[in-house]
């Protein structure tokens, strides 16, 4: 499965390829084992963990993270990073929220499309300063992280959108259960499936891996790296825009600090899920497992009554452990060759 991921754009000898394949598989198995241990340990201490309600809760809590982590994964696969996703979510939620409250009778689908369009414009701005302006992605999106957040403050002028200002149908967009499971979970899985297919089976998707593995080689192979890079930032903005509308629907409010710090969770999900920050390596199932692990950790820290203030520290520690173990494992594999 990972054979294809590593072979494109990277001239890796056959033997090494097998080892990388082994390592990547090991990585996903590693997360599954870790999740299993955690589930057993937590359910021994808190029996309420393994109930349908709690599991639905976990999935609800990580759904938006999964959606944005898909965008983040595509960006990181090209060797970039998008730190502005949280501000895009905040700004789109605010703008759509005010539009909905000021104009009654807007159909839900129009609200969703509006959010997607607004997000896409913000993503285009990111993409252009990175590809045309040659600003390094980390600096560019760190800049737009504060630019877009500043726009939220300017736009809202210190006010916010409350639950009663939103139409009921918009709230049901994420919480309704026509299929027995909350819509939000289905939307998240749908987006994950689409991203999986896009990355694995389409030409453009394969090019994303190629550009991340070796942009120069990709260019010689006839791919235009700048276009691919622009595309992933536009997609990232677009998906974050959708996430903004879903955020509005799920939390029934839009505040100036909505989704503040959320960018870190999406990066964590991707990195813990085995996406290499130097680009070119990573799979969607891995990221899903990474997000699941994060969700379970957050949930279980609450269940076993660890102060919520330590949760951010746990998250940071998790990123560090993930990248260190990643490095150590790959080192050992190279040595054992």
């Amino acid at each position: 499965m990972t054979d294809q991921e590593t072979s494109i754009g990277k001239q890796v000898p056959r033997q090494k390829l097998n080892l990388l394949e082994l390592f990547s598989r090991f990585r996903e198995v590693g997360i599954i084992v870790f999740i299993a241990i955690l589930v057993v340990a937590v359910s021994l201490r808190a029996p309420s963990f393994l109930t349908i309600n709690n599991l639905t809760d976990i999935l609800m809590n990580i759904s938006i993270m999964i959606i944005v982590a898909m965008a983040q994964t595509m960006v990181i696969l090209t060797g970039g990073i998008d730190l502005s996703v949280s501000s895009v979510i905040g700004l789109v939620a605010m703008m759509v929220g005010f539009t909905l409250s000021a104009n009654s009778g807007i159909p839900d689908i129009a609200a969703v499309l509006l959010g997607i369009a607004l997000g896409a414009v913000l993503g285009t701005f990111n993409g252009l300063i990175i590809t045309v302006g040659k600003v390094p992605p980390i600096i560019a999106t760190l800049g737009t992280l504060s630019i877009y957040r500043g726009l939220v403050f300017f736009y809202s002028q210190g006010t916010w959108i409350n639950a009663f200002e939103l139409p009921q149908s918009v709230k049901l967009l994420s919480k309704g259960k026509p299929l027995g499971v909350p819509n939000l979970i289905i939307i998240a899985l749908l987006i994950a499936a689409l991203t999986f297919i896009f990355l694995k089976f389409t030409r453009v998707g394969r090019n994303i891996y190629a550009v991340g593995s070796n942009a120069d080689a990709a260019e010689f192979a006839g791919i235009r790296p700048q276009r691919i890079k622009l595309l992933v930032y536009v997609l990232s903005g677009l998906i974050s825009g959708l996430a903004g509308v879903l955020w509005l629907s799920r939390f029934e409010s839009a505040q100036t600090n909505s989704a503040l710090g959320f960018e870190l969770q999406t990066v964590t999900a991707a990195v813990v899920g085995g996406v290499s920050t130097s680009g070119g390596v990573g799979t969607i199932p891995g990221v899903l497992l990474g997000a699941l692990l994060l969700g379970i950790i957050q949930n279980s820290l609450t269940l076993i009554q660890i102060s919520p203030f330590w949760q951010l520290a746990a998250q940071g520690l998790l990123i560090i452990i993930a990248v260190v173990s990643d490095k150590l494992i790959s080192k050992r594999i190279v040595r054992s060759k």
Partner: protein, 375 residues
């Protein structure tokens, strides 16, 4: 002092990204001079906009507001010159200050608590340095992790509480003035440290090694530069300075909350990059960075005087950061493309994109027309 033009190593230009992208210092032969011109413009405009701008007391008071950024910027210049980055500085600052606050709340002597805070911050730097220099992880990833980790520890220490009631001899560090003059203590410390850091960067072997690493790490390694040692020490110094900045901030506020300094890493990096330090490493000078700090300080001070919200100020500073990298490149590109023929496709793309952004802002203002019209 040697200028930053010193190690003009071109071997790094083989890296494709480097070949197409030039730093500010290449475009404006004298970036520092440009900063001075910008500073003069900001001073002139602000003097016209507000009668309170050119007021020694106001300037003295506002200058201490930027010293935490400045203190963290000094080691950041070193780190960025080597082509690395430290995103964890502001979180480290919060962690160290919170630890000091926690100890102070428990009744520990304030100086002992401050020392413990410095030690913890340095330890944070050791963690970063170890993971980057010894485990060989990219600094961006490591410090993104510790960015969350350190801030989380800060929250763990103080939760939703604050530490306050620091003794006056401690708050002197952030609020006091030197002797009977108008110069704040923190500014005096910053100036002293800036000179020391500047000398280290521009006039010592250590400083030259930093440029060598930033220009071409492989080449530096083979010419005997102790890369791992240097990288390790840089992040330790950065951790120490972040903790020290945390103490200054605590002394200035007279209290500590775990969210102190959230987002300051952006301000630190902005000051560094706007000062002409190439984010890819190898180029930049300490006086450029200090000048850009002055520019940002005066800009923010002026915006504050005409009542611009602090978050909107961040927007403008963020825009400044991007424009300072973006514009020189675009200028260069237009200059280089003079000979190439006029292409309709490009024009259409540009027009389409501009229309897109215009549409966005039309909607932005239209959807909030009644409120935004008032200002």
């Amino acid at each position: 002092m040697k200028s930053q033009a010193n190690p003009q190593n071109t071997s790094a230009a083989t890296i494709s990204e480097r070949a197409t992208r030039r730093s500010l210092t290449d475009v404006f032969k004298n970036w520092e001079l440009l900063l001075v011109v910008l500073i003069i413009i900001v001073v002139l405009v602000n003097t016209r906009l507000s009668p309170y701008f050119l007021n020694a007391k106001n300037i003295s008071r506002t200058s201490s507001d930027f010293m935490e950024i400045g203190l963290m910027m000094l080691p950041m210049v070193f780190i960025v010159v080597t082509g690395n980055i430290d995103l964890s500085v502001a979180s480290n600052m919060g962690m160290s200050a919170s630890f000091m606050g926690l100890l102070h709340n428990m009744g520990v002597n304030i100086w002992l608590a401050a020392l413990a805070g410095l030690a913890l911050g340095t330890l944070g730097g050791v963690l970063n340095g170890y993971l980057i220099a010894k485990v060989k992880l990219p600094s961006l990833v490591v410090t993104l992790g510790t960015y969350a980790f350190f801030r989380g520890i800060a929250y763990g220490f103080l939760g939703d509480q604050a530490a306050r009631n620091y003794p006056a001899k401690f708050t002197y560090l952030g609020q006091g003035r030197v002797g009977g003059s108008l110069i704040p203590v923190s500014v005096a410390i910053f100036i002293g440290l800036a000179i020391i850091f500047g000398i280290i960067l521009h006039a010592t072997k250590f400083g030259r090694h930093l440029y060598a690493i930033g220009n071409n790490e492989e080449a530096a390694k083979y010419s005997g530069v102790p890369i791992d040692k240097i990288k390790f020490s840089l992040f330790v110094i950065s951790g120490f300075m972040a903790a020290f900045a945390g103490l200054v901030l605590a002394a200035r506020f007279g209290s500590t909350r775990p969210d102190n300094g959230t987002g300051l890493e952006l301000a630190v990096i902005t000051a560094t990059v706007l000062g002409g330090v190439d984010i890819d490493g190898g180029k930049g000078s300490m006086y450029g960075a200090v000048l850009s700090l002055l520019l940002i300080g005066l800009l923010r001070f002026g915006m504050g005087l005409v009542n611009i919200q602090s978050q909107v100020q961040s927007t403008i500073i963020g825009l400044l950061l991007i424009v300072s990298i973006f514009l020189p490149h675009i200028g260069q590109r237009i200059a280089a493309n003079k000979a190439t023929r006029f292409r309709w496709k490009t024009v259409l793309a540009v027009v389409g994109i501009i229309a897109l952004f215009v549409l966005f802002f039309v909607f932005f203002f239209w959807s909030r027309a009644p409120v935004l019209a008032e200002i």
